[in-house]
Amino acid sequence: MTERNPEGESTTGPPLPVSPPSGGRAGEAGKGVVLALAGVSRQFGAVRALTDVSFECRAGEVHALVGENGSGKSTLLGIASGFVKPDRGSVHIGGVRLRRDSPALARKLGLAMAYQDTSLVQMEPVKNNLFLATRPEKRPPFWRRKKWARQLLTEFDLDLELFPDSPAGFLTLAERQMFEVAKALATDPKVLLLDEPTTALGPDEVEALHRTVAKCRDRGVGIVYVSHRLPEVLEIADRITVLRDGRNRGTFEARATSESELVELIVGRPFEAAFPAAASRTVEPRVVLRVEGLQGQSFGPLSFTLESGEIVGIAGAEGNGQPQLFDCLAGRVPPRAGKVVCEGTELNLISTHEAVGAGLMLLPGDRKREALAPVLGVRVNTTVQALRQFATLGFLRRNAEKRQVARLVDQLEIRTPSLDQPVEFLSGGNQQKVSVARTFLRKPAVILAYEPTQGVDVGSRFDIYQALRQRCDGGAALLVKSSDPIELSGLCDRVLVMSRGTIVEEIPGEDLDERRITEAIVRGPGLSKAGRSPLGVAMPTATTSRSA
């Protein structure tokens, strides 16, 4: 099946399983192809985000792109829209090759993108935002922009209660998402990229959006629709391409495929990662953390308990309240309501100092910003939370400190030339190990690990799993948020699935495998009403349908 790549590069990749790019010159062949990527590869540091991916979107079709978090969807969109430069391979928009990695050029060639994180001028009215987003030659006279805006919004059947005069910042999350689409359409594109357009939308709004998408398709626009929600994808898409680990796993006619087939393809990689065995529990399990009716900005209410000596996973698609839950438990953002009891003491949840003191330690996902002092050394970073252990009357016993850190560096295999190496010069994996090493000194009752292996090389991953498992065997309870189902199924004793900010499912240890987790995620409903409302207040109807 392997065809010689027209660009003459990179023919070593494995064969594409189904429908490789149509032969000949990628841009011209296949009549009506508005977007064609041929043999695109891209590497970020040690991570291969995309490997020899070919993808095409025809005029007048909705081509869905599905895959797990981190499968390369965003990189693919980035390359198509000119934001990311591919290491090799070519991009053709409307038959013309995108010669530079320039978003402006891509736009000029007829590509439009609706962004996931909205790009609005908050204080300006909707009409002005729309006006700004439009290319100068397509703009109406300035004084007629209100009428023009209203016309445009109704033309695309954007079922919005939009007032062209209200500031864009007043729109709800869902409305903003719709507005992003409108903005993209205002440029009259040949191809439209939608990046997770329904994350913030409820069922009615999804339907409205799909009506708009269908309308665009009928006008001959090619639409690339990225989503992880299979039911929606199957409803709207004509063709579906599956990405996994940065490779194209095949393109399918939507009518000829089914949800379970797709799940198989999204998940179906050989089991590569190794995990430390869940030791037979040596500690008498007792409840160390009890969370009751906790509710915050974009999650809750939710309740769960953690026992000593267990690792509990938090699964769910991005944007379902997981980071907010972790921040709240760590005392960074106070909750609206609810109660958290750690080791018998009820927490006020207004201070990180209090949380750490009570035995709750957060290992943040954004290590450089939130976990480490990058310019300071390994030793200083490791002991910052445990200085009291090394101090007599406020003076540090530096030798004791050095010995302890050296022992931890050994134990966790932190690769550093010296104990005083600034951590900014360490690799991601070693940085995370420094962060984990703190829990060995302070020995907290509860460890909250947010994406503990994000940006960590494969070699270090096992060390980190092992270290976390050791803490757990030492009597700590761990809450691990991860977007990688393999990691969750390998590391955790049970997994809680979050959706719409609440726990919708608990997968017990005996049922735990990545397929089960992925299924729970892709079948899950969207974000809660609370998350979508600009005030963050749940509408009265939101909670009646589902009680977790």
């Binding site: 910052v384 540090l396 010296s418 600034p422």
Partner: protein, 343 residues
């Protein structure tokens, strides 16, 4: 799992220390130039004349350094310093019995100014540049009003000016005061838990907050201790000048910042060395003195001083460390590609 390609411990120490090097090179250069052009400057008399003023700059620079470690900046130095000097005159009332009270009053008032700065910046998260400039303005207003409450020619208590002009081991006690403060800060950073936490807060306040360190309190105390140091300098300056007047501290706005920067501190916070800040203060004082001895016109002195500070920024701190890092990374990359070839 081998550590064969890892750079040695010595290189690490070099990289970490490299940011503090330029100031010592600059001092060496200054000494060479002085030895050639104005050898008189290196004589005992000239040096002991410079020493107290260098120490004054060093003390204020150390205060500024504490603030800069937290990622802030303090422009209320002239106001605080002048107020402390004025209090030595006003509260001192030209009577030696009042010296301890005057010193305590000066330092207490400064601590209050620092507290206001600290609460506005560390607590309410206002912009340090503007807040300290505004607070400094208020303080200068207070000084002007306060300065009219006693005669223009009023002097500090005679005992105080006598003490500042005595010699301990041939040098003014002000110099030794500066040295002691420098050593105290060095010890605090190296050997105490408080100093360590303070550095971490400066290097990354967001992470420190996540880790449960009280960021606000650290930032507020930085401004307070800094203000106390400015007041210390002001009190000593009053003794040296006898009749400090209401513009005594005016020259201490740019000088301390320049000393901190040339001393290799990171303006984004977290990294600074008391010793090299001390050295930088003496470098700047020495440079100033040399220009005067050579007989440069005052206008030109200002120009040269400003240019030296810009030059200092070009070759110090963050830029040095970035250059060293780049060199190391290149090396590591070539190491890696070599090992790949071998594999």
């Amino acid at each position: 799992m081998t550590t064969a390609t890892a750079p040695s411990r010595a290189i690490t120490a070099f990289v970490v220390g490299s940011r503090y090097m330029p100031v010592y090179l600059a001092i060496a250069l200054l000494l060479i130039v002085a030895a050639i052009w104005v050898p008189a400057l290196l004589g005992g008399v000239a040096l002991s004349a410079i020493a107290p003023y260098g120490a004054l700059l060093a003390i204020t620079a150390l205060g500024q350094m504490l603030v800069i470690i937290t990622g802030g900046i303090d422009l209320s130095v002239p106001g605080t310093l002048t107020l402390a000097a004025a209090i030595m005159v006003g509260v001192g009332g030209q009577s030696d019995e009042n010296i301890p009270v005057a010193i305590l009053a000066a330092i207490g008032t400064a601590a209050l100014i620092g507290l206001v700065n600290g609460i506005l910046i560390g607590g309410l998260k206002l912009n340090a540049l503007i807040v300290t400039l505004a607070v400094g303005q208020v303080v200068i207003g207070v000084v002007n009003r306060y300065g009219r409450s006693f005669p223009v020619q009023a002097q500090v208590p005679a005992g105080w000016s006598r003490w500042t002009s005595t010699r301990i081991m041939g040098v003014s006690p002000v110099f030794w005061l500066g040295l002691v403060i420098t050593i105290l800060l060095m010890v605090a950073f190296r050997y105490t838990a408080v100093g360590r936490r303070f550095q971490v807060v400066g290097a990354n306040p967001v992470a420190s907050h996540v880790l449960g360190v009280r960021v606000n309190i650290n930032q507020i105390s930085a401004y307070m201790v800094a203000a106390i140091l400015y007041a210390t300098a002001g009190v000593a300056l009053a003794g040296l000048l006898r009749s400090p007047g209401l513009a005594a501290g005016a020259t201490y706005l740019l000088g301390p910042i320049a000393a901190v920067v040339i001393g290799g501190a990171s303006l984004t916070g977290g990294l600074a060395s008391p010793l090299s800040t001390f050295a930088a203060a003496f470098f700047l004082t020495g440079l100033n003195q040399m220009m005067r001895t050579i007989g440069l016109p005052t206008a030109l002195q200002f120009v040269v001083f400003g240019l030296v500070i810009i030059g200092g920024m070009l070759v110090s701190g963050d830029r040095i460390i970035k250059a060293v890092e780049r060199v190391l990374r290149e090396r590591r990359r070539s190491d890696r590609s070599e090992s790949k070839i071998l594999a």
